[in-house]
């Protein structure tokens, strides 16, 4: 009987296991995860998990019911793969158990990055897992002030959640502006203003030197000799891919586990998907590792299908969302130097669609509370279909009409 081993039981691992069964695989499926929880989605960890009134009802983003794994004959194990013998196809687990496999999928994800001068402690935490979120929730219950180190999407979502609970927030960011690589400069600015309107304080171009924890909280010291005291600190400075096991096992790595468009690694029969996978992207096949819900979802499905003999290419049009205050912000496509013109359809400060074009093709779009509009142009972005910029800029022309015209 064929055995498929899935290393990592997060969203990608869980979705892959489900896909194997949905596509008729009736061999053995092992799903190994080092968290105590069955597969779940992470987006709510920085949002409703922190702001919900009730501890017992704050989280529900499980991929499947707890019965799902038994019912579908998926051996979900709370364990960790310590060693992978790729030649003999045997995995050795931390518990001591050995598992022989035919094919293997790495969905090991990533771990929160730490700053050397800011290690985890009772009042300093990163935010990656449900356990982290519950511990931060605990701190929030009695905190009046918090510093968020890192003004990326996770840090900003946490800031919005902390403000919703009436906690004073200071965002400490080493860059000159927020999300310097991920957002167009004008939007970066709009986002900062939105947070400031909600009472968030920003320290940009900040040089954090050290931290000191006492009973009452944490004191952060900066290069200009200033220091500030907070009840607790959340560190949100990015993620390291968990590619060490793959590297030790002889797979090619480099900012994640290198895979091809079919999600297969440098070793035949071994695949990778999700946050840990580095794949060829776009017409020029540049290497990319995406950290998004959509990537964990869709790349895992493609990998699973290919493990069963299909030949599907993973060619995503990156789509990402962030919810902060009353803003649902969605991004589609890639922000790169190829954009030669910008068109915006702005209904109000709280509802707009910004599009970046290259030769009349929309290559990037950023929607604020306009998910339906973004969806209307999605195919045009995914398939690089040229449109009429004048119509696109004309608010009296409906996007669905533009979509229809372009596709006909």
């Amino acid at each position: 009987m064929e055995t498929i081993l899935i290393i990592g039981a997060g969203q990608a691992g869980g979705r892959a296991a489900e896909t194997l069964r949905a596509h008729g695989f009736d061999g053995k499926v092992y799903l190994i995860g080092d968290e105590q929880h069955r597969p779940y989605e992470r987006p709510t960890l920085s949002k409703t998990v922190l702001t919900a009134a009730d501890d017992t009802e704050c989280f529900s983003a499980w991929l499947h019911s707890s019965e799902f794994y038994g019912t579908n004959n998926i051996d979900w194990l709370a364990d960790r793969v310590e060693h992978l013998d790729v030649a003999r196809r045997v995995a050795t687990l931390e518990s001591g158990r050995n598992i022989s496999f035919d094919k293997c999928l790495f969905t090991t994800g990533g771990r929160a990055r730490h700053l050397p001068n800011l290690p985890d402690s009772r009042r300093v935490s990163t935010l990656r897992t449900l356990a982290d979120a519950m511990s931060i929730r605990d701190c929030m219950a009695s905190a009046r002030s918090v510093a968020v180190v890192g003004g990326g999407f996770l840090g900003l979502e946490f800031a919005a959640s902390a403000r919703a609970r009436g906690i004073d927030v200071t965002v400490v960011e080493s860059g000159e502006r927020l999300l310097g690589r991920a957002l167009p400069p004008e939007f970066s600015e709009r986002l900062r203003v939105k947070h400031e309107q909600n009472g968030v304080k920003f320290m940009l171009s900040a040089s954090l030197i050290s931290s000191m924890e006492q009973d009452s909280g944490v004191t952060l010291s900066f290069a200009d000799n200033a220091s500030q005291h907070f009840d607790f600190v959340v560190v949100a400075v990015g993620q390291e891919p968990n590619d060490e096991l793959a590297k030790e096992s002889g797979l090619e790595t480099g900012n994640g586990i290198l895979v091809n468009a079919h999600c297969e690694s440098s070793v035949e029969g071994i695949y990778a998907a999700g946050d840990c996978a580095n794949f060829p992207f776009g017409a020029d096949e540049r290497r990319l590792r995406l950290e998004s819900w959509q990537n964990a979802q869709e790349q895992a499905i493609v990998a699973a299908r290919n493990m069963l003999g299909e030949c599907v290419e993973y060619r995503p049009s990156p789509w990402f969302w962030t919810d902060q205050y009353d803003w649902n912000v969605q991004m589609l496509g890639m922000l790169d130097g190829s954009i030669d013109r910008w068109i915006e359809r702005k209904t109000s400060e709280d509802k707009s669609l910004l599009m970046g074009l290259r030769d009349s093709i929309i290559v990037y779009a950023l929607a604020v509370n306009s998910g339906g509009d973004l969806r209307a142009i999605r195919r045009l972005v995914e398939q690089s279909i040229g449109i009429d910029p004048a119509a696109l800029a004309d608010p009296s022309v409906k996007l669905r009409q533009i979509e229809r015209n372009a596709l006909s």
């Binding site: 989605e41 987006p43 409703t48 983003a61 819900w293 979802q297 789509w319 969302w321 919810d323 649902n328 509370n369 306009s370 998910g371 339906g372 973004l374 969806r375 209307a376 669905r400």
Partner: protein, 101 residues
């Protein structure tokens, strides 16, 4: 159990969901293949109006995270939505769309 007026049939178009509030209940109406369907207008995943979403092939995509519901049955069709949305019976009489609340 009475049918209430929701909209004029002429107000509906095949691409665009129509939002109506009847007795403070938020309803979304959809015109699919000449038939009118009605669901509750609030996504079951997070607060968003389905009428702001994308209607195609009898499914409405929530504008927030693009979870899909079949407007005919209310069934949740794709992640991240898992809970079905409430549907209502619809009757069209003399160009008036009536919904059974």
């Amino acid at each position: 159990m009475a049918f209430q007026f929701a909209a004029n049939l002429d107000d509906l178009s095949p691409d665009e969901p129509y939002a109506a509030t009847i007795n403070s209940e938020q309803i979304a109406l959809y015109l699919v293949d000449g038939q009118v369907y009605a669901t509750h207008n609030v996504c079951t995943h997070q607060f968003a109006l389905l009428s702001d979403g994308y209607l195609e092939d009898g499914c409405i995509e929530c504008p927030l995270h693009q979870g899909k519901f079949d407007v005919r049955t209310g069934a949740a069709m794709c992640a991240p939505v898992t809970t079905a949305v409430k549907t209502y019976q619809v009757q069209v009489e003399d160009g008036a769309v009536m919904v059974d609340l």
